[in-house]
């Protein structure tokens, strides 16, 4: 309590003043928890206001209780103050997960240091309702690609075609998103089986911008990174299906597994091509691009199948075509 407040509280019984102070101590505590200490001043003003109101009463404990009851529970009051000072929570899906110093912008570039959840990753990569193609990166500095916005921009789907992405897609079509990455893995395994023994002992594992290889390694070590990447993709995919995650998460896991597998395949295929005398990276980039396009086509196709299922549900009930 500062001197003015002690003076303001002067006309009160110690019990009444104690009630007021306990109340505001709880408000301050809640503000600390909400990391909204810029509201402290507002709360001090409020306390002065309470003492002012009490000055017009007998200052009994009952008066204090009545006046404090008007303000509501201290935690609710703190939440209200925090809201007014920092503005109401924005309604875009982007910021749904609330404020945190671990996410924001740095020199105009977004950053994100919270551990990514599967939900957040999937929502950023496939968010047709958000018209921004570049979205803040799921983890780290910079931007990610929102493939949902790309599909909308290309007029392949409308933002609200599906109520919840992939939710209405029939199970057998959903399974395609798990089968495709497995098939791609088999293609990689076949490639390795065909060429591994014929490769020279040292192969290229990294290429410069010019296309010339700038790092070599033994052909066994060259396999380590592609194998690990592909296995990570398959592990995420397997866990999404075994744990029966929502369709969006299962499809996103499949898309991620496809991308990781296509990067692995591209790197290995390029190592083979370089060993066979290729002087540029004419294999690496097309294979990676093909993987990205295939993933995109799969996502759009599933979204359209989901839309068709929603339409069937709504339109079949009334009549077939055109008679409405």
């Amino acid at each position: 309590m500062n001197p003015q407040e002690r003076e303001a509280a002067g006309g009160l019984t110690p019990e009444s003043a104690e009630l007021v102070e306990t109340y505001f101590a709880r408000v301050h505590g809640a503000l600390l928890v909400a990391a909204a200490d810029e509201c402290e001043e507002t709360v001090d003003d409020l306390r002065a206001h309470v003492y002012e109101q009490l000055a017009g009463t007998a200052g009994t404990a009952a008066d204090v209780t009545r006046i404090l009851a008007e303000l509501g529970p201290p935690e609710a009051l703190a939440a209200q103050c925090a809201d007014v000072v920092s503005g109401p929570a924005p309604s875009t899906p982007e910021s749904r997960d609330g404020r945190s110093p671990l996410a924001g912008t740095l020199l105009g570039m977004p950053y994100e240091l919270r551990v990514p959840t599967a939900e957040r990753v999937a929502m950023r990569w496939w968010d047709p309702m958000n018209p921004n193609i570049l979205v803040p990166r799921v983890f780290g500095l910079g931007w990610d690609l929102n493939l949902g916005a790309v599909a909308v921009k290309l007029c392949l789907i409308k933002p609200d075609d599906e109520d919840t992405p992939f939710e209405s897609v029939p199970d057998r079509w959903l399974a395609v998103s798990a089968v495709l990455p497995v098939l791609m893995t088999l293609a990689l395994v076949t490639l390795v089986a065909l060429f591994q023994s014929a490769l020279p002992a040292q192969v290229a594992v990294h290429w410069g911008i010019s296309g010339a290889p700038d790092r070599f390694d033994s052909k066994e070590s060259a396999l380590i990174l592609p194998v690990i990447m592909t296995l990570i993709g398959l592990a995420i995919l397997g866990s999404a299906w075994l744990r029966r995650r929502p369709p969006l998460l299962r499809v996103a896991a499949g898309a991620l597994a496809m991308l990781l597998c296509s990067i692995s395949t591209a790197a290995y295929a390029q190592a083979v091509a370089t060993a066979y005398g290729a002087s540029d990276i004419g294999v690496l980039l097309p294979v990676m691009a093909a993987g990205l396009v295939l993933t995109f086509v799969m996502l759009v196709t599933l979204a359209r199948i989901g839309r068709a299922a929603e339409m069937r549900r709504d339109l079949d009930g009334t009549s077939k075509k055109g008679s409405v």
Partner: protein
């Protein structure tokens, strides 16, 4: 328009867009593109597709509106949105609260301008 004015306006808008969508649907059902277009015709609201679609999704999840696919006289079927019973009640309550706010604001603003 200064940056600060801009951000202040956007704070205003966020609270109002929800009511604007409910009001629009109160006058009859509409599809997404139509809602975006009709709200965009009020430049004062400065609403874009990026605001409308996430809000439609949220209103639908909270049960205030629902949606249904309907054949369109031109082109492919469209997803139409309409107020649910609950949404109608909520809209009436929000509209009433809004009237209270605008009356008070008119009063205060009028005082300032010494009308």
């Amino acid at each position: 328009m200064g940056n600060e004015t801009d951000s202040r306006l956007s704070q205003f808008r966020k609270g109002v867009v929800e009511l604007a969508i409910l009001a629009l649907l109160h006058s009859g059902e509409a599809y997404g593109g139509e809602i975006v277009e009709r709200l965009a015709s009020h430049p004062g609201l400065a609403i874009s597709a990026g605001t409308v679609y996430p809000l439609l999704s949220r209103l639908k999840k909270s049960g205030l509106i629902d949606s249904v696919w309907r054949e369109s006289p031109v082109g492919p079927p469209r997803k139409y949105y309409r107020l649910s019973t609950e949404g109608g009640i909520e809209f009436a309550a929000m509209a009433k609260a809004w009237d209270g706010v605008t009356d008070a604001m008119d009063d205060l603003l009028g005082e300032g301008a010494a009308r």
